[in-house]
Each structure stands twice: as structure tokens, then as C-alpha cells.
Amino acid sequence: MRDFYGTQLKNGLMLGTAQYPSPAILASAFAQSEASVATVSLRRESGQNRAGQDFWELIRQLNVHILPNTAGCHSVKEAVTTAHMAREVFDTKWIKLEVIGEEDTLQPDVFGLVEAARILTEDGFQVFPYTTEDLVVAERLLHAGCEVLMPWGAPIGSGLGLNNVFGLRAMRAHFPDTPLVIDAGLGLPSQATQAMELGYDAILLNTAVAKAGDPAAMARAFALALQAGRLGAGADPMEPRDMAAPSTPVIGKAFLE
């Protein structure tokens, strides 16, 4: 597996920490999935005082890599400020960079994203940019200093899966050495399998697990789906073809007439 800014992850599952019915259920979802990364969204109002610390302490106790994110930020300035706050709170250089450009689809403002990625990289951050499957934008992000790309599968929280398989495949082909993460839009474990079959390194999801009726079971299902996809992709799958190819030989079969 490709490494993420020098860190080898034990698996490619990155799980969000929002929207669970309770922190106890959140913890059991992490235990069941054995996810290697927890993403945490920080609000500007979050802070260092006691009440603000209670929840972060629970996240730290998960004992996984923490990837703070700038969820809900709509401008470069806001995202940069939030990233600095996250570095203080979690003592990590990692930042998942989200600069939202459109309120209804929550799709990234790719221009602001590149700008913020440049500022943060120069400031010593290791940026995980939430982007689209656009190859030119991806190129710009790498120029800005990103060493990881996180294209969306579908709009955040939509559960639609991999909306543009062609685009995602092209991205994998264009950036064979860059760690690629499907971020957002996954709803079902089968979609995670598909992401792995496309050769992606990891998936990042939150709503599909947190909003499931049984988050811990769904988390486990995604973990298994990820394994299935990775195993399958590594086993040199057969090529699809139009013509039937019987698995038992026809020649030599007895004539019954």
C-alpha cells in the first residue's frame, strides 16, 4: 500500500466521527471496523476549554491516526484558520482540506482548494485535499504540495456511490504513484469494494456508518468489503468479454439423441 506522507496505514479505512447516536456507538464502530484513521471536523467555536475538550478526549482514546478536517468551510481564510486550530487541538500536521463551493451539492471550490493547499503546505501542513475527479485540478494540487488526493465518489452524505467510474479510473491511471482516497458519497459496502477494485488506496466515509441502524455492523461490513476489493484487485482479475466461454469443455460431450 502507498504511504500517506510517510505513514503506512494498517488498512485503507478512514472513518468519520460525526452523527453517531452516541460516543459509545462511535467507539464500537471503530472497534468493529478496525479503521486506521479517524476524521474529526472542527468548528470554529470549538476550543481549548473544558467542555470543548470532553469529546476530543474520547476521540483520542480511539487510538487511531487522527485526521482533522475543515468541514463546512466556504473560504480559503476560514479553512486555513480552522486548520491551524486543528493542529493545536490534535497536535498533528495532517489536515483534510475541504473548501465548499456549492451549498446544495457541497462540491469543492477547487480554486479555493488549490490556494488553501498551497498556503497550508508552505506552513508545514500535510494536506489531504477533498477534490473532484478533475485531472487538471489534481495536477495543480500536487504542484501546490499535496502528496495525497481525495476525489469524491458522490456528493457528501448522498450515499450514491461512485458516480463517475470513468473519471476515477482515469485518475488512478494518471497518478500511479500518488495515494488516492475516495472521499464522500459512499453508502454501501459494495461501493467500497468497487473503489478498491479500481486500485484506490483508501476510502473515507462517515454518514453510511453513523446513520445506519446498526453502525457497528455497517462498519464491519465496510471493513470486509474493503478487504474483498483489495484481495480481488490484487488477484489479477479476468477481463470481461462479450462472448460466453463455458467453464466446462463442450468437445467430447456425449450425444444423447
Binding site: 467507539a27 468548528r43 470554529r44 470549538s46 467542555a51 470532553d54
Partner: protein, 331 residues
Amino acid sequence: MTDVTIIGAGVMGLCAARALLDRGATVTLIDRHGDIGPHACSWWAGGMLAPFCEGETAEEPVVRLGQEAADWWDAQTDAVHRCGTLVVSPARDHTELARFARRTSGHRAVTGTEISTLEPDLGTSFAKGLLFETEAHLAPRRAMADLRQSLLRDGLKTIQDDADPQHYAAHGLTLDCRGYSARDALPNLRGVKGEMLILSCPDVTLNRPVRLLHPRVPIYIVPRGNGIFMLGATMIEGAAGSHVTARALLELLSAAYALNPAFGQAEVIEIGVDNRPAFADNLPRIARDGNLIRLNGLFRHGFLLAPAMARMAAELIFDTKTPEVMHENPA
């Protein structure tokens, strides 16, 4: 005669005082502010006695124990209204409604026509909804004032003091009902920030609490009578601020506006913010350490669960019956 000191005069402390007085105890209620007020979480409660709706995300004990609340409060105050809860969603979010229905019980589906009969002021905006007929709501501040009055009539003694529960426990049986202020003794207690508004909008009449489901900003609005409404509530983990954010105001008010544009004319008469005390599973706990019994972690279910918690505390004291929510070591 059993002497009990209760520290914290919020909803948990008051309910515990009632349960213990009813069992013949002599009860002293101590609070650093003396009386209930904006410093207390329960001051800002929605007052929904909605155990079935809460079942959407809460664990089973909340649904079961919460069913004691409506009868209990009805016996203490006339501030209780038993008109059910109406749950609606905008047309594009009907999947939210279907999920809410799957994950809760005690409801029946209602059509748009029924919704406009139940709540004429919602007009024809909603084509589908769920009615939780057995649920109730109350006016929290009046309910607590009524309860406090009846407790005083029945011999409750009150003291204003910033009391250390350990100090009182050295002298006799003590109940710590301080909510989030007890975090020093309960390090696993966390605060979940909530923001709410009280609106005056005489143009709108609602007969029961209405929950508007939305994938991003679910809200509820509880009628307090005389054109007064409580609009709530955000739930923010890891928030520190003691003020309402502009975003919370925007989200809450836009959702109310979506429910009925007449709320655009409402006057905002109060803005509330507080930290709900919660343990990791969002379930309440009773913990005993010698003479000191701590009742805490009621999360967003203060009025819903305090009656059952008070009953269990009384059973622990008088019947030595171990409560199901007992935790020897909640810290």
C-alpha cells in the same frame, strides 16, 4: 426518619426531592443559585415528553423509562399537555421520514389532509407525517415552579450554598444532582452544547410539538401557549463557547421559516445555550459511594428521565433495590 440532602435544584434535584418526600424522608435541597434559573440546563429544556421519538437515536432504556414521565408530571403540575408529537419532512426528504418511522415505534402515518386538520397553521405544506399520539409536552419552567411550590408545602427545606457534596456526605445521605457542574467528580461526563430560541409569534398556533426532519438541520418547535414557542435545538460535540453562534441562529430560524413562513415575523424573546451532561452512551447513571449518591448524565432527556431516575434513587435508599442504571464506578 431518613434525612437526605440534595445538591442541585434543577429538574433532577426537584424530582428526587419529590420521590424522597413521598417516601417519608426529610429533604434539604441545596443550590448555589438558590432557585431554578438560566444557569440551569433544565431552564432551557424543550419539555417534550417524547420517549418514542427519542428512540430514533436513543437506546432502549430511554424509550421504556421515558414512558413514566407524562403521568408523573401530570400528577405534579397542570403544565402538561397530552396531544402527541407530529413529525414531518419536506417532500424532498421523505426518505428521512421513512427512516424515522422504521427506527421508532408508537406512531401512525398521517396524510397531508390529516396534518392540516391536526395543525391548521401548517397548511398544506406537508404531504406526509407521523403522529405519536401518546406523547406529551410540558412548559418546563412552570412545571419546575409548580413542583418546587408543592415540595415546599410538603416540608422541603432549601438552602442557597455552593455546596461540596463530599462535605455533606460526611454527615449523612447526600444526592449529587448538579448536572455538568459535577464533572469534577465524574471525569467521563461530557458536555454536549445545545442552542435554542424562544419566539413570540401570535400569528401561529400549534397544538403539539412538531419535529421537522432534515438531513442537515433537524429541528423541533414546542408550543408554550399564548403565541410563545421554543425552537431547538442544536447538538454540538466538542463545542466550548458559552454563546449562541450566528450559524446556529441562522439554521434554527431558517428551519422554523420552512415550517411556516409566518415565523419570519416572530420576535426572538430569549436565546439559550447550555451544556447537556452526558456519558459516552448518552444514558443516565446512578452511582453510589457510601453516603453519596450521584444522579447524572440525563443528556437531552432531563424531564423525560428524571422521574424514573428519582424513583430508582428512592428504591435504592428505601428498598435497597439496585437500579438498572447503577454504575459502581462511572468515573
